[in-house]
Symmetry: D2
């Protein structure tokens, strides 16, 4: 961390700042120039609140050089995190997961049929929304408790572990048998929820908020991890930009960037990002080629009559084809790496 001091700093104020920083366990290096004085802080600055320092009278600006997250930081955990998402189902470090299923759980037949279909094609985790965040109060809000019950039925029938979204902490007790808890993009900075999930004994998939930076996503992971739960999966699902042709802009650079900054697995959801089913296969392939640890894809056996987000769901037939292309592509990439 670098502190640039104002020109007219008094020596006693400077000394008292240096004293305070040293008490925080930091080495302080002073660079005095004709025009300006700099302090270089060396040590663990992740627990320093830059706002506090910025607010001091004698400080002109503060720049962080080290990242403000520690548990999620690859610097302190050079190896990829690898952990179970459902029994015997690993993610991270070369283990790839395909999460597939409908946007919303609608009824028993729907969820069980899709679960069997996607399993046959190669999906390894079943997704399905029970609690649905909808922009309009007049839109379908999900089957809620009943949706979770149906997901558990489909899990029983197919053996697939399940992932579904938690919208409010009051729903948490319903998630006992859910394998992975999803924190939606709109809740990425619901800090009370993140704190509570830090005490939870399940993997947590956190979707990047629509206008959240990579660092903010990692800070949200840090909230969970600092509570003791180290099994966090990061999910890129598109960011909001000026371009409106696609619903959001899928930021595929999230894959190499997040994997460089962090040891956590990174998956990509091409369905919500684009909002158009015909864009799902090319973007899923792109994410795979960029090195993602998994995909999260919406599949509906009747997208035209889905109760929500139909336009972005692909059919089981398209999913089957896509799953094979993903496999071929991963094989080709692995072979090319070995050459």
């Amino acid at each position: 961390m670098i502190i640039l001091l104002k020109n007219n700093t008094k020596n006693d104020e400077l000394q008292s700042l240096i004293e305070w920083l040293k008490n925080m366990g930091l080495d302080v290096h002073i660079s005095e120039g004709a025009e300006q004085t700099l302090l270089g802080l060396i040590g663990d600055t992740s627990r320093i609140d830059t706002d506090l320092i910025q607010a001091l009278d004698i400080v002109e600006s503060v720049k962080r050089i080290q990242e403000p997250y520690k548990n999620a930081n690859r610097k302190f955990h050079p190896d990829d995190s690898i952990f179970e998402v459902g029994k015997d189902n690993l993610i991270g470090g070369g283990h790839f997961q395909i999460i597939a299923g409908p946007c919303s759980v609608e009824n028993e037949e729907q969820i069980c049929t899709i679960a069997k279909d996607v399993k046959k094609s190669g999906a390894t985790i079943l997704r399905g929304g029970a609690f649905k965040p909808r922009t309009s109060p007049y839109s379908f809000q999900g089957l809620r408790q009943e949706g979770i019950r149906l997901l558990l039925l489909a899990k029983k029938e197919t053996g697939l572990p399940i992932i579904t979204e938690l919208m409010d902490l009051s729903q948490l007790s319903l998630f006992d048998e859910v394998d992975v808890i999803q924190v939606g993009a709109r809740n990425m900075q619901n800090f009370e929820m993140l704190k509570e999930l830090g005490h939870c004994d399940k993997p947590i998939l956190i979707k990047r908020g629509m206008s959240s930076t990579f660092q903010e996503l990692l800070m949200s992971a840090e909230y969970v991890m600092s509570g003791g739960n180290e099994r966090v999966i990061l999910c890129e699902r598109g960011i909001r930009t000026f371009e409106t042709y696609t619903r959001n802009t899928l930021d595929i650079s999230a894959v190499p960037v997040l994997k460089e900054l962090s040891h956590l697995p990174v998956v990509v959801d091409p369905s919500h990002a684009t909002g158009m089913s015909r864009m799902v296969p090319p973007m899923a392939l792109a994410a795979t080629a960029a090195g993602a640890d998994g995909l999260m894809v919406e599949v509906h056996n009747d997208p035209a009559h889905a109760l929500c987000d139909g336009p972005q769901s692909i059919t089981p037939e398209t999913f089957d084809k896509l799953a094979h292309q993903v496999k071929s592509l991963r094989n080709a990439m692995n072979a090319a790496l070995e050459c």
Copy 2:
């Protein structure tokens, strides 16, 4: 609402769509062209889920022409909403409120001193954070329950109504004596919270999310209003753009736009938007000149040692000067309108 059909639509599918739309209470007007067929829907389309229609095989695209919100819509409530925020304290329709106070409540002396100071300068509502949403788990998270107790003390001493932020529904019971509940930018789409606040007998101030459109903000207001609570205040606090010199970009056009689309009062928070105390006065004046119904300003008697967001807080002296300038400006504008 306009539905553009695909070129090769079969007549029976078209008829069945038209039938369905008529059953939803809409008039359907058909424009058949050599190349394309359009359906024009006339009537109340606010409860129609465009995603559902978009998903139909025969539909190429759907465009909404009417707004998807009704309770918040000025078309159906041409007059400005005017309501009490604290006893005998009106907002809307020419009634202007100045909300002031510290980012966080820190201790009794701090909150009571600031409350007295800002009241003397002309503030009409006291703000202060008890539960604080912070990006880092290592930053100060607010005094929480104790913070609310101190705010109520300051209310008792000064008579100022108070506003503070609710971060999770589990905290709601602590807000009984709070006059206005604030929904923060990060919770603007916490739909479970918005639904619950629809059953609450207090004004709700909703901050625009960092990447939320005007329409999404109005949809969030609609969530509260559709539950029965019509006292919603909209708050512009800056949006996230590519520009990083200011923390966010304060979108002052929110004032005339939201007042055109809706009858609800609109206030502006220049402190969070810019993140720099020296930008607060010019932006507060700009918001006033644009026709805002109020301002929300952070004031701290010791910004350099504030426990959070110090850099964006102004001193009581600066606030006093600003409050007078705002008053002069409003007088000049009212006089100019009368000419």
Copy 3:
């Protein structure tokens, strides 16, 4: 195109608008409702200025349903455009080009060495900047005329066709022997330049502006094509978003979107988008997997001492490896498609 009329439209004004639209060669379908009247325009609306109609007193809003571009529109040219970029070198319709070379031409040895290196690895077009757009007047501005001379030398030595950027029309006479003219992101809406290039007998590669929509990029292509030059290549190179970790956000969805809307070839430049050489290989592979018609990659034999944009250039060794991975990936994709 849909025109929504204001509520209180007088009949004679309506008739005169309809008359005018019919004179523009359009079919006009009227949908009269209790509350609002709509006009549906069917026919070629690409030459209609929506601003003009929007400005009429009786009009509430205008929405385009058809695209405002015609020459670049896949609807009117269903097959992929395929054309030569340099002798016997095709792009589009399955023909893939790898454009490689340094950001700036620095001297004869540099450009000739790199040209030979990238050719050996599989590059099919040589890139190199002679005129450089630099944010600061104090940064290196390119070798200019001398840079073009050196590029032509490298072309002679290797047989590779060359592409380089035109920054101002006054430089055009120097581009006689250049094979492909590049319009940079900052000049994407330099309409005087685009018009002139419409009369040019060379392929034009247009980079998407940092904040340009897909439609605006296609309108810029339309400027060139409406002048008679149909050989336009579209290039995605990253857009400006709130995320600052990468220099820009590479919008890989540009590939499937632009190929859906247009018949023109689409290439991707991962170097400028990310600004970090270590992000170039994963993003190049992602663009290939998404179906791009080519890549544009910065390669420098000494990135650490490049005169501009060194941090985003990869070495010839990294390029060689990348070119092989791209080839493997394309083979796997082609094989998977045949299954």
Copy 4:
């Protein structure tokens, strides 16, 4: 400027970097820590290319602490720049200009009538487009040379100085009698044009690009100023964000920010930013209250039939009212400051 070195830097490489930096006239302060070494550079770093340093093998990151512009920088010119824009017409340092006129010059009667109207209401400079940048090749492109002739006629009749946009350097000879040359948002980074205008003996008004940062705008001003022309006016006209209700988002914080960073005058164009005439008065008042040195407003005597951008033009009647409100507001602000 701060340089953070990689962990394993060899001493001889470090010494050679330090030597090089000293040769550039900088003081170099070294902070060696257990984990990392920092170099603090003190002196004039505006001519240092950070890309070059970033590219060095031993460098992990570079952060600028001082601004990369010098002529435009308030630090080196603490007093507001004040200069003539037309004879006896000052801008800056409390001198306020109202620039008004049509988007496009259409014919003699139109431009002369509007010129007289806006002059009577208090406008001090006449604007009017002769060369028009239009997204579509099929839209009206301006009267071009003839437009300039008509503007000069209107100048002769009213005595108002004129401002109009230069779209390409080849048009420059037509601008001899134009008082202020406008560089449009799309040309803000047309560096060849900016360099040439540095040798021009006229004030240059530079519009902020739709996705340009404050610093980039100041760098474009620096291009002109480094050529010797110090009379640059900065113009905020809205930036591109995710919000599409307004055409662009008018960033009024540009006024206090640019005036803090630079001594150059700052004007605001509310017409292009919002794209809606009814938003022009509130946003013009907001810009004035924020401390702008002038306004640039589109006025058309027949907005409904304007050949371009009609929807954003206000009528002479509305302009007359607005000009009076602006005057009242400025009087009230000046009075409040004196108290």
